[in-house]
Symmetry: C2
Subunit: 369 residues, 2 copies
C-alpha cells in the first residue's frame, strides 16, 4: 500500500527553480537573491534541516549551514555547500563582500526586523538590501509532477488514517481521543506527523471553524466534524469530513446536502484560467440559493504543498487565475452557532483541462451507529 516508484527525482527540478528565482528579480535591482525560509530552502536546494541560507547569483548557488548538518547537507543538496562555524549569516556576509555583490534581494516576509537591521548594520553602505516578497512562494504555487505525486501520497495516507479511525469511533469517545487516534494512525502509516493540529469537534463545537479537540465525549444526535491532513515526505494533505452520531435529523441533513452541493459547485468551477474569486463565488452562489451563504464565513480554499497554506488563496477578492499544476483545497462550510457546523473539504489538482479530485474518501453523510 502507498507505494511510490519510478518517479523523476525532485532534485532534477531544482536548478531550474533557482534560475527562475534569480530571473524573477528585476534586472539591476539586486545582484543576488538570499533565501532562508525553511520550506523555500527545501524547494530550492533539498535541505530539510532547521538552519541554513542559500545565496543565488547569476553564476550559481551556494548553501550555508552549521556543523550539525554537515553530513545531511552534503546528502540532500544539489548545489555547492559550505559548512561554517559561528553564525551562518556572518559567513554569507563575508562571501557577499568577497564576491563584491552590491545589492541583495532578501525575503522580507520571513526575516525578522531585528535580523534585517542587523544585516543592514553589518553591510553598511557597501551592500543595498532589497525587499523580495513572495518570489519563491509564487513559483511554488505550480507544482512539478513529482510534487503532485507526493501530495497524492499524503492525501491517500490521510484518507486511509481517517477511514480506519472512523470505523472505530463510538459514542462516548472524547474529541481528544479521536484526534490522538487519527494522528497515531497517520504516523503508523509512515507520515512524519499531522499537517496541522487535527480538528475534531462535536455538536455545537463543530460551528467553530478553528475548534481544538476537547475532553468532551461525543453523544447521540451530534454532528462530528474532522479536519485533518498528513505530512509525508515534506508534503501536506488537507481534508474535512462530517459524520453524525446516530441518524441525522432534517436540519442536519439539509445543511449537509447544501454544503455538499456548494462544494461540488466549487470543484466544477476549477480549471486553468479561472479566477480564484470566481471559484469562490461559485460555491457561495450555490449556498445563496438555499439561503445559507451568510453562514459561510471564510474563503473557499487555499493552495498547499510544502506548507499547509500556500498561494493561491481562493478568496472573494483574489483576482489571480488558476494554472495547471496548482493544488488547492475546496472547503465550503455552514456554521450555525446554536446547532453546529458542516464543512466538506477535498484536496484537488488543477489539470490541463479542468480538475482532478485527489481525495478518495466518500462524501456520503456517514452515520456512526
Amino acid at each position: 500500500m502507498l507505494q511510490f516508484k519510478g518517479l523523476t527525482k525532485l532534485a532534477d527540478f531544482r536548478p531550474k527553480r533557482r534560475a527562475a528565482v534569480f530571473a524573477a528579480i528585476e534586472p539591476g535591482k539586486a545582484s543576488a537573491v538570499v533565501v532562508s525560509h525553511l520550506p523555500n530552502l527545501r524547494y530550492l536546494c533539498g535541505f530539510t534541516g532547521s538552519n541554513g541560507v542559500l545565496l543565488i547569483t547569476g553564476r550559481g548557488a551556494t548553501f550555508y549551514t552549521d556543523p550539525r548538518y554537515d553530513i545531511q547537507a552534503a546528502q540532500e543538496c544539489d548545489c555547492a555547500v559550505k559548512v561554517v562555524t559561528g553564525p551562518v549569516w556572518t559567513a554569507v556576509a563575508r562571501d557577499v563582500r568577497r564576491k563584491r555583490l552590491t545589492s541583495l534581494a532578501l525575503e522580507s516576509e520571513h526575516l525578522s526586523h531585528a535580523q534585517w537591521t542587523g544585516l543592514a548594520r553589518e553591510f553598511g553602505k557597501a551592500v543595498k538590501l532589497v525587499e523580495a516578497k513572495g518570489v519563491v512562494e509564487d513559483l511554488r504555487a505550480v507544482k512539478s509532477p513529482d510534487e503532485i505525486a507526493r501530495i497524492r501520497q499524503a492525501v491517500l495516507l490521510g484518507s486511509a488514517a481517517y477511514e480506519s479511525v472512523l470505523e472505530a469511533v463510538r459514542e462516548g469517545m472524547t474529541e481528544q481521543r479521536i484526534a490522538a487516534e487519527i494522528d497515531h494512525a497517520m504516523r503508523l502509516l509512515g507520515a512524519e506527523g499531522p499537517a496541522f493540529e487535527t480538528i475534531v469537534a462535536a455538536g455545537k463545537r463543530s460551528a467553530l471553524p478553528h475548534a481544538r479537540p476537547t475532553a468532551a465525549k461525543i453523544r447521540k444526535n451530534q454532528l462530528l466534524l474532522v479536519d485533518m491532513g498528513a505530512c509525508l515526505n515534506g508534503y501536506m494533505s488537507d481534508m474535512t469530513r462530517v459524520a453524525h452520531i446516530g441518524r441525522p435529523g432534517g436540519q442536519a441533513r439539509k445543511i449537509y446536502d447544501a454544503v455538499l452541493e456548494a462544494q461540488l459547485a466549487g470543484i466544477a468551477a476549477v480549471k486553468p484560467g479561472a479566477r480564484c474569486m470566481d471559484v469562490d463565488a461559485s460555491a457561495r452562489r450555490s449556498l445563496k440559493r438555499r439561503g445559507l451563504d451568510r453562514f459561510f464565513t471564510h474563503s473557499l480554499g487555499h493552495g498547499l504543498g510544502l506548507e499547509i497554506h500556500e498561494t493561491p488563496r481562493l478568496g472573494g477578492k483574489v483576482e489571480s487565475v488558476l494554472k495547471p499544476g496548482m493544488v488547492v483545497t475546496i472547503e465550503p462550510g455552514v456554521y450555525l452557532p446554536e446547532f453546529g457546523g458542516v464543512r466538506i473539504e477535498d484536496t484537488v489538482l488543477v489539470t490541463e483541462t479542468g480538475v482532478e479530485v485527489l481525495t478518495p474518501t466518500s462524501k456520503d453523510f456517514a452515520v456512526i451507529a
Copy 2:
C-alpha cells in the same frame, strides 16, 4: 494520577506582568508597548488563539483579535478585548492615533521586516517605532508558582509516557514506531502534543544530536537515545534518556557513566546567583577529567516554559546568573561518530537555596532485553 488542584489562577499574575513590561521600557523612549508574539500574548493576557495584538499603555491594556476568537478571547483574557473585522493591526493603528500615542515599542525579533516597514508607512512621522528585544522573554525566564506547577505536570506526564513505552520496546521495532508510540502515549495522558519532534536514535545515529527518527529497526548491542517532552496546558517538559539493547559493553558503559557524572556535576552547580557559564563549565570539567570534553559539542541546557527554548541559555559565554523560579534543562552529551552518543537530560528548578530535579525517571543505564 496527574491531578492538579488548589492553585492560584494564572490570571492573578497577569496585571503585574503587563505593568512590568511597561516599566521595562525606558521612560520617554516609548509611550506604549505592543505585543504580538503568541507565547508572549498567552503570558500577558491569557489568549491561546493564533491571531492578536496587545497594546499596553500606562493606563492599561487592550487586546485586539478577529471574529473567529470572539467567544474565546472574552473567556480567556483578563483585560479589555476588541474584536475587529479586517486586519487587526489596522485597528490597533487607528486606536494609537486616537489615543495620540507618539511612540511604540514593538517586538522587533518577532515582527517580519515586511510587517515593520508596513507599520512604519502606515504611521508616517506621527508615531515613532522603537525596537524592543527580549522584554517579555526576560520576564518569562523567572516562573510564577503556578507556571512551575504546570511545568511539573508536563514533566510527570512526559516521564509516565516514556516509561510506559520503554517497557514495550523490543529489538526489531523502528525508531519511527517508538517515537509514534511515545507521542501517542503523551496524548492519551492528556498532553496537547509533543513539546518538539520526538527524537529516537539508535546505534551510530545516536551520535547525531538532532537526529530524526528513521525506518531503521533497532538491533542488539545498540545504544537507544530518546529525547522527548510533553506540552500540557501550554507548558513544556524536556528529557533525554539512553537505554541499551542487550547488555552494554565496556565502551558504552564508560561513556554512560561519564555523561551521568557530568550531568550530576551540572545539577550540583545550579543555585541562585550561579552564572550560566559556570554551570556549563562544571559539567564540561567533569567530562574533561575523563578525556571526553571535546565530544560534548553543544551547550549544557536552556530555559523552558511556554516555549521549548527560552532564556536563559546555559552556554559557555553566558554571564547572566540563575534566579529562583527559573526552570532549565541540564543535558550534557558525548557523541562518538563511529560508535554512538549518550545524552542525559533532566528538567530542573532553581529554588531559593539550590536546585530541585523535576524529572522523576531513573538515570540507571536501562537494558532492553
